[in-house]
Amino acid sequence: MKEVYSTDAASGCHKSESSKKTGTIRRNPAATLLLGLTLSALIAITSGCDAKPKPTRATRLSAPEQVQESTHLLRPVEVGASFTNHPWIAHVNVADLDLDGRPDIIACESRENKVLWLKQTDQHQFEEIVIHEGTPAPVHAEAYDMDGDGDLDILLSSMGQVFPNNDKIGSVVILENDGFMNFRPHVIAEKIARVCDIRAGDFDEDGLPDLAVAQFGYDQGELRWMRNLGHDWQFESIILLSLSGPVNVLVADFTGNGHLDIASNVSQQWEEVYLFANEGGGRFVPKVIFGSTNEDYGSSGISTADLNRDGRIDILFTNGDGFDYAEPGPRPWHGVQWLENMGGGFFRHHWIGDMPGAYSPVEIDLDRDGFRDVIAVSGFNDWSKPNAASLMWFRNDGNQRFEPHVLAHHPTHLMCAAAGDLTGEGFLTLVTGGFHAYPPYNHRSRLLIWERADPVK
């Protein structure tokens, strides 16, 4: 059988072409191979057929996006009492506490041991009222009608002391609203590992609101749920996790099985996000849904969201805790992430953007384009740099690709943020709190609302 070869010089490849009869040459196969090798090498050398790789290659580490300067978008407005010292606002929240139809601001001043109610008297006009003081280091306040009497009570988390301390000095406190905005404290649990966050939900489905409690502690911490026994503010504790470092708890039906689950971010050396999936009746099954083996990851906050609007509740997540360092400050891996709820208790981790010292992620459609964006504040940026951001906006392009924008460089040391429809126009307004526990002290704030400076383009 005769073999017919043709050489496709353009591709440098050899192919058999039995149908062509023209130019047939009978060759020694070894010589042909040598000739081919020589030719292809020469072609490669002269024509650049080595397909020079692109100058930049993708790596498994997401390249940071170009940060845009959008400081013109929002204007900070001080609300509440004036200050001359170093405010320690550990938490802000938005709720219509007096149910007058105007959302108010609730805040914790951890240095002065005060729980503040900023009653909205007119649009963006607030009157500050101290509704409780004396509970040491209050760090989180949630409004919830715990006794079912139609008014909002306050779930107050007390660390006992904000800075590192392993003593059992935390407490779970409910401030009972008498309906006339007088709040009576009920200490539900005390002398326990320092408490950072409390949320309510009927986990055992008996019609009474129970509690989920994150206790950071220091060397020893816990995560518990507290079954409401239905009388005299009595609760029974069930420990879900015995690790130091739980920062927050979230309560939602993450698994979609009709029962309220609990999620929590655990920092210290563990750096994990847990889901406690409720199988019904308060039977929780623990599961790690995110973790980092970087013991210095700095988990700092979580919140619920639905970024892709698929009806499943996602989790926004920041790592930016800089408290533990020799000098408080940022790390290169600090940033904002989301855990996409894939259903059935499965989550997929996505990086949203780099952000040194990131805290308190909030879902908000800032540019009102119908896509859900994310904002976060920075408690621990490198404030010696003039371009260090204290407030960032990660703009969602609709496909969950996020474009980072700096909304503010100062005030600095923003540790908490919340969003609520303060104007009643159907759009969320941002509220932040300043926590000035370490220098520099030249750009301080206490409580700010961020008003829209320009119409959205």
Binding site: A41, K52, L61, W88, E112, D167, Q220, S292, T293, W351
Partner: protein, 474 residues
């Protein structure tokens, strides 16, 4: 064509083919190596010799030197240019695929940024190339645990223990798996073993306390808590593949941070060396002198410590911490007059420095001038109302000047800002006993017993005082 001519032609063709092939491969690998060289990052402010050295390494890598490309990656990694290092490591895994170092170091970067699934893939590659590197196996097991792949994690930890029965990190990992399964006995066994192997580490004691609490053993829980008090929660496993990166670090801030990590906590000489390197890179940075000064003081080198602390306050006279540390070391070294002088100078630069007001108060108390001491402490409390130290010291000053009620009031305030303060609890308990307030005495004594930082001898003394005063046991 004659036979000779055919042979000659064949040889010429073969040589030409070999040259061509070699050129093809060389050019290919050279351009391949070059394609993994990242764009040079902004190195403004970095040490000029290092920037020059990096340019030379980059130039050599551009010419196809795989060794230099690797060197480039290691330098980027060591100095926090993670994006650049990642690109180089991608290249090295292709160009030098038999070296497990590249996937290992790449996994370190990725896990640092929370990209655990990618990191696990690379750790698996690492172990495929070198199954004997223990830290890779441990990191893999820890990563699997955090991805909720518990069975694989458990197998990984067990393999770590098979290879090294004293691997206390693996014991802690296994104990956590047992705890998640509420298998308290197995968890206890693992953790007790870990405490025996590493008694200086706090984490196994902290977990043991939880295990005992959960399994209804409060006494053992309290003992575990006491045993773990003051011990570092975490300790990195030995990691020579990664640790050598610090030798390439040219960033003073990173060197400072490294010197303060648990890795160097028990190796003060190595930490001192890091800080000395940081100072050589940033000789005018007061904060590094301050950190080195305190480290030298802890390492019983007070004269060297004072030299750096003096330099610190000279470079940054408005840094209150520098003055506070200088005065503290002078006082501890017995140079009380110099300490007082420096306190005055420090306060002239930093009139609102809480640490200096505290030192000033202590100096005044030592000389019996309680009025001045009380003034300084009141200033301290105004500056730091959230800290208990001012109230406790003020109480002591009041007690020393026979103002007992004022002292008790300050101790109560100390207990308000720090509910478990051991000195405040015991002082108030004693006061309640002496003033005949049995209910308060009983409550405070219970608080003192629950506070594990109160020494047992103090509890015993208070119990005896209670019995003597009230004729009954508390």
């Amino acid at each position: 064509m004659s036979r000779k001519s055919r042979i000659a032609s064949g040889i010429i063709l073969m040589v030409a083919a070999c040259i061509g092939l070699w050129l093809f491969l060389y050019r290919g690998s050279s351009s391949l190596a070059a394609s993994y060289i990242p764009a040079t990052p902004d190195m403004t402010g970095w040490a000029a010799p290092w920037v020059t050295q990096m340019k030379a390494i980059e130039s050599a890598a551009e010419k196809g030197s795989i060794r230099d490309l690797g060197d480039l990656g290691l330098n980027y990694h060591a100095n926090g240019f993670f994006q650049e290092a990642s690109l180089v490591y991608e290249g090295m895994m292709r160009l030098d695929p038999s070296d497990p170092l590249w996937p290992y170091l790449y996994s370190d970067i990725l896990s640092g940024f929370g990209k655990l699934e990618d990191a696990i893939e690379l750790l698996t590659t690492t172990l495929g190339l070198d199954p004997t590197y223990p830290t890779a196996r441990l990191r893999l097991a820890e990563g699997l645990q955090k991805l909720n792949r518990t069975d694989e994690a458990e197998a990984g930890f067990r393999k770590c223990l098979e290879d090294n029965p004293k691997d206390f990190h693996a014991m802690i990992g296994l104990a956590r798996i047992h705890m998640d399964r509420k298998d308290w006995d197995s968890a206890e066994q693992m953790l007790r073993q870990a405490t025996l192997i590493r008694p200086s580490l706090g984490a196994p004691f902290a977990l043991l306390e939880s295990v005992y609490t959960q399994s209804g053993k409060p006494g053992e829980a309290a003992n575990a808590r006491i045993a773990g008090t003051g011990k570092p929660a975490h300790e990195d496993p030995p990691d020579p593949w990664k640790d050598h990166l610090i030798d390439r670090c040219q960033d003073p801030y990173r060197l400072r941070v490294a010197a303060a990590t648990p890795r160097y906590e028990n190796d003060s000489l190595a930490a001192i060396a890091l800080l000395e390197r940081a100072i050589s890179l940033a000789p005018q940075d007061a904060s590094i002198h301050r950190q080195l000064g305190m480290l030298l003081f802890r390492n019983t080198q007070p004269q060297a410590a004072l030299s750096h602390l003096r330099k610190s306050v000279k470079l940054d006279p408005v840094d209150p911490d520098g003055w506070a540390y200088l005065v503290h070391v002078l006082t501890e070294s017995g140079q009380s007059i110099e300490a007082e002088n420096q306190t005055v100078i420090g306060l002239s630069h930093c009139p609102e420095a809480p640490g200096l007001h505290l030192e000033r108060a202590r100096q005044r108390i030592a000389s019996g001038d309680y009025t001045s001491a009380i003034r300084s402490l009141q200033t301290l409390i105004r500056l730091r109302p959230e800290e208990s130290v001012g109230y406790v010291e003020l109480a002591r000053a009041y007690f020393a000047s026979d103002r007992i009620d004022d002292g008790i009031a300050q101790m109560k305030k100390a207990l308000e800002v720090e509910p478990g303060h051991p000195v405040a609890i015991t002082t108030l308990a004693l006061h309640a006993i002496e003033s005949g307030d049995q209910a308060a005495a009983r409550r405070l004594l219970l608080d003192a017993k629950a506070q594990l930082r109160v020494p047992p001898s103090d509890i015993q003394e208070l119990t005896t005082a209670f019995s003597n005063q009230f004729g009954s046991q508390p």
